[in-house]
Subunit: 359 residues, 4 copies
């Protein structure tokens, strides 16, 4: 509940923006797997603030420390404690939020829920909360790759009104995605997206975007009927991310406009196993993976905290003009790429372990 995720590959996270540190405990990692901090650091580096001019000025090294569960470079099967210190804390930046709830931010709802909120507003709704997930998910990625050959690659497929040109997800690599700051692998599209983000930043505004994700080599048979369908777990994982507003798998909302005769994916023989010639199902049928690539998309709204003046009211209902201070991303999607990938890995690792009970 709340800060715990997963049934067998189980993650608990802690930490908000301005405390001593953030991190996670990962329970359920198989024993005897090679693991070092460096294996985890790669994804943390991709998510950390201050990477380039498209993101926040907040600059955190975000070095992870493995506290437990690993000895001599091998996992023990016991819980893995992970810690990332908070260094560049400036809670003073947020003093104004004590009186005025930022529009579309979590300040107001946290106060409604807890009767108190952290100095940074909705502290636990901060992007820093995702560090524990990324660290925990990076271990899951390693497990999935080594045992099943699963590759998870996400990319930015839209920023504001700029949609990416078509990308061949069957061969896409993270290196290709990272070759542009905005993390869209199509050069021309990437340029337009960067311009869009910088324009928003220039206007003291923010902009939304869409992330697409593919998971290759997921075996058929993962996902549980009824409540824990593979797409249900993925949807939950994605909608649990700060600023996400939508999820679709395979044909998604477009599929709702189609007829069955067009939408159905015919079976064909592929390398001696059954596959499908199209993939409007997005890799799942009846909530269970079918061996085709998982394909889904996640919508992210524009960040709520903007420098522009906004007309709103304070907690007492008095009209005020708010120009938010603090250091924030004008667009979350470039840095959300590793978050989407690692959350996906958390879902898949858990379902992989659950499916083992049936073998």
């Amino acid at each position: 509940m709340s800060s715990c995720f997963g049934t067998l590959y189980k993650v608990s996270t802690f930490g908000e923006s301005h405390c001593a540190g953030v991190g996670a405990i990962v329970d359920g990692v198989p024993s005897r797997m090679a693991l070092t901090a460096a294996d985890i650091q790669t994804q943390l580096d991709r998510r950390r603030p201050g990477q380039n001019k498209l993101g926040t000025d907040r600059n955190e090294a975000d070095q992870v420390q493995i506290l437990s569960g690993v000895e001599n470079g091998l996992t023990l099967g016991s819980p893995i404690g992970l810690l990332v210190a908070n260094k560049d804390q400036r809670p003073g930046d947020y003093s104004e939020m004590n009186d005025i709830p930022r529009p579309s931010h979590a300040d107001y709802t946290y106060r409604a829920k807890y009767g108190i909120h952290a100095s940074s507003g909705g502290g636990r709704s901060s992007a820093r909360e995702t560090i524990g997930r990324v660290a925990a998910g990076a271990i899951a990625e390693k497990f999935l790759l080594e045992v099943y050959g699963i590759e998870i690659v996400a990319w930015v497929s839209a920023v504001g009104t700029v949609d990416s040109a078509e990308v061949d997800s069957s061969i896409l690599t993270r290196a290709q995605v990272d070759s542009f700051d905005v993390r869209c692998p199509h050069g021309a599209s990437a340029q337009q997206m960067s311009d869009e983000i910088l324009a928003a930043r220039q206007a003291k505004d923010s902009v939304g975007g869409v992330i697409s994700c593919v998971c290759r080599n997921v075996p058929a048979g993962w996902g549980e009927p009824a409540f824990d369908r593979l797409e249900a777990r993925l949807a939950m994982a994605m909608l649990s991310l700060p600023a996400s507003k939508g999820f679709e798998i395979g044909s998604g909302f477009d599929g709702a406009r189609m007829r069955g005769s067009v939408h159905n994916d015919p079976f064909v023989l592929k390398d001696g196993r059954l596959g499908t010639s199209s993939n409007r199902s997005g890799g799942v049928q009846g909530g269970i993976s079918n061996g085709e690539p998982l394909c889904f998309r996640v919508a992210f709204k524009p960040p709520a905290t903007i420098g522009q003046e906004q007309q709103t009211v304070d907690y007492q209902g008095n009209p005020v003009t708010l120009s938010a201070k603090g250091r924030h991303d004008p667009c979350v999607v470039p840095r959300a790429i590793p978050i989407v990938e690692t959350m996906t890995a958390l879902v898949l690792a858990d379902l992989a372990l659950i499916q083992k009970m049936r073998s």
Copy 2:
């Protein structure tokens, strides 16, 4: 896991298409609540097959029996057992599926997962599995209405390429929704949608659609930060429904195209409390309800089982032409209305109970 849902308002379901019955156990229903089978039957009647010419010919009375947890018309606080007998079973209709996996259906994935499948194909992926949820959720609806005044109303907002005209969700009632068979409350749109469904049926085809849902009077403060955000739980609930392919809350995928200055919902004073003048957030901020109506949409693909000939292969990979038999809906969205509502109620009832620990 799998057939259990919820932390405190906890539902377990059982049953597939062609066994003795389907049902649920509901644990966590507050004691001393008035409850009869009739309170549950209303939503089951809205969901049952054979209501009109838009749906399947399968005709089930789907009468619910309360097995336990209620005495003299009052809940005891103990688990409520619910049973609906399966009556109109014709497993013989499906004998062909033993050899040929239906395209985009769960036949293949169930076999991959379990090494066996029910006589009706992916039996547990059958729409009948949702009966237990609807029954359990109908009790949750009663609880939410009586204690908090919460009203949950879903309606069909698209069938195939037909989008509904604008509907005022602030005053919409279930009676208005039910005044048209297709369950779109806008008469002209409803007519077009019905035509679309009948055309698909005529063509031995099927068609997808979209359901919109509003929840009014949800108090501020529900939903848990991090993994169990209100929208994450809703997304999981909706993507756990058969044939669903997408979920969006508030501005959803459209919001990804906006700037923050346009997207943000300014706070205003409403009846002595803080509210927002627009609702692109869809009633949640930072994963927690803000007191505005919850608004979300769910995309459903066209049903996979169609009478039209499809080119596919059998389990051995031999090319075959398949014309599915059996009785199926050409479009799921009209009958999915009560399912969406009751699943929503399951999510909200659970979060309501969780929030009580903070009071």
Copy 3:
């Protein structure tokens, strides 16, 4: 929580003494296992009331019906619904309990908890609640026996002040246990115990007892460190049974009196694997099974409901003399034998599935 048990082999139960029926949903049973109602009925028959003169006069056939999850005699992997109708209901017997809480019974605490209680007093604390567990556990027993060869045998090792003579648990069978009504396999001891129960009955009184249990052929490696140790799960399972007051494994409370040099179980070579020459550990070390037989004991208090006059007070605090009516066992341990066995099976089946994720 409450009426759910297990992580992967997951059971939800429902039903109290005087409703339509009692039962369970079992989720997590492996697919393709042969299963019929008769497999389950055996243990229900051993637990049902009215077997002999040592128990209650209440007479219930307690025939189980499999509602779902099995087709053509094979499990499908989907949840198995189980239902046992309540037939011999006489709630009128308990009308007095509406005013007077029975001493050491759950009447008072249920009212404190729920503000209401069932017509039979603490309805859900009734022994009939265990029917769902026994049915669910009988399936677990079959799984454990077929896949691992695990044999679970419980027997009555004490009734009141009568302790059983030594029993060789390494070869004990259920048939031997059942050869005496009191379910103590040692004839002379069994006779004394029966006399003790009949004497208590004659005096309109009740008497406590102890059940011992052995599980043979449990593989080494089952049980989870920290909170879900094998003995922790067993202790929880046993203390969740009506009337149980104590649990000990291996040396138990006697072990607390020993020195380590006496208590430790030296390792020896047994059939090519490591075993121990003594078994004061009771089959677990550090919370994990070691391959030796699991051995534990459970203490049950005398039933609270007795015909003798008791001086107590009613809900208003007025002194009253109470002579309980209704039909009750003077001693629970003979009929609790299959309950202990099947609850043990629920614990082991769950840990077996969890351990599979490590293979």
Copy 4:
């Protein structure tokens, strides 16, 4: 599962004997509660090694750091991260255990389970694992005391064959318990127990013991029927402690020898509410607290690691003589006092929050 405990007051722990640190995440602590590290440190100090000559020579300061969830001395409602660094690590002491499984220790079972074990043998079965629990439970104690006035006091009631003289648990304080190193509040008994421990130590041996515990002011109505009875949760919590072998509540195993007419606790009027004149129930009836003090006892075996020579075999089955090195307690019960108390607090805090959903 495994390293997580609780439904609403939820604890995850990490850490073994020889890693960087041990700790916990506590999720579910109510917001706006005053909390500092000092509140937690008191119980850690009572549990830390090296307090006196009765325990191990291992000397750890065990200073706790609050990583998150608290700001300006108040809880935020977000997860509280807790870290205690491991300082006095000497894994070299244990090199012998790589070849020889210590009798009655977890070396062998961990290897069977995980195929690997930590340098200290069953690292996660180490007493250091309990630090996270104690820290998490110390917060629970504060919550229970402040909101409900609940007092939890444990004491050593037996060491080896020395039983304590009668103690009046209705007024017992922790200060009285701590006035003797052995933590038995009865002076003469304490002296005998200390002698027993020192004699065992002198003989390079170890000795077992029993801890009794009382919880005063627990409201009536806590605990969930069926699987999560209050005593079931307590039994699980206690049997999850290293070296524990038995649990009994109220009359316990003695109760099994009694008749109902003797065992039943008659109701009486106490300060305007119903209470009982005796307390053989131990504060629970039907799995639910009745407002009387909770009273239970936990049996601990003698520590497995002893300096005396033991005849055993190595992993290959070769006979060896083992004299364990390393620094170990000759008796665990004095230092286990705060562990029993805080684990009890974890159980009660969780049930308190669950019961709030019924208010």
